[in-house]
Symmetry: C2
Subunit: 124 residues, 2 copies
């Protein structure tokens, strides 16, 4: 549960891009590891580095997990994180009309995760 406006904004922003949403769906249908990064790049009609950069953003919020197979890298969805965000966002909508307990002083809010990238195995 992140439940905090600042973090929610970060997640929503990461998801708020057409190509990244497509990347998620492509990797979601990637159970047999059919698509590697270059395949996705072709599907999206952008370069491989551009694809890697989008993937990085999705890894940073923990939604994608790396799975290297030789010199190819496959990605899959972290279902737990996905489910968590699904809940958090729904909660955000559900509590829209409830007053913020900390009056938007995000720094004082216990739900304020310093960095969402801690969810990522590639946290630095």
């Amino acid at each position: 549960m992140i439940g905090h406006i600042k973090n929610m904004a970060e997640v929503l922003k990461a998801l708020g891009d057409e190509k990244r949403l497509k990347i998620i769906k492509i990797f979601a249908s990637n159970n047999n590891e059919t698509f590697c990064v270059s395949d996705v790049a072709n599907q999206l009609d952008i370069s491989q580095p551009a694809t890697s950069q989008h993937i990085k953003i999705l890894k940073n919020i923990g939604i994608l997990e790396e799975n290297r197979r030789g010199f190819r890298v496959f990605y899959k969805i972290n279902s737990d994180v996905l489910a968590e965000y699904r809940n958090d966002i729904d909660e955000l909508f559900k509590t829209t009309f409830e007053k913020c307990q900390y009056n938007f002083s995000c720094d004082k809010c216990p739900y304020n995760n310093k960095s969402l990238s801690e969810k990522s195995s590639n946290a630095y």
Copy 2:
């Protein structure tokens, strides 16, 4: 129901900003029209024009409705649109692992709303 990646990205992007999320919550608690635009600007510690620009983005996706009272303007949440987006986003998560029927050719998808701003009474 928008149910389309391209439109979903637009909505998520509009919501993917800390200040805009705060604006939503502030206006959500604005039943008695306590806060006008300038009040919100003060709360967010940005200028009034910056606030108006954020509001415009939220109006464009239909989440905010204008209510002019004299020379002040108050805003309130359009609960129907909010509920719709809540559903759409939840659907997006729920169907993450389902294959896109149109193989991401958004132009062919019947759910592809040309412009979300049609939801706005200020559509142009």
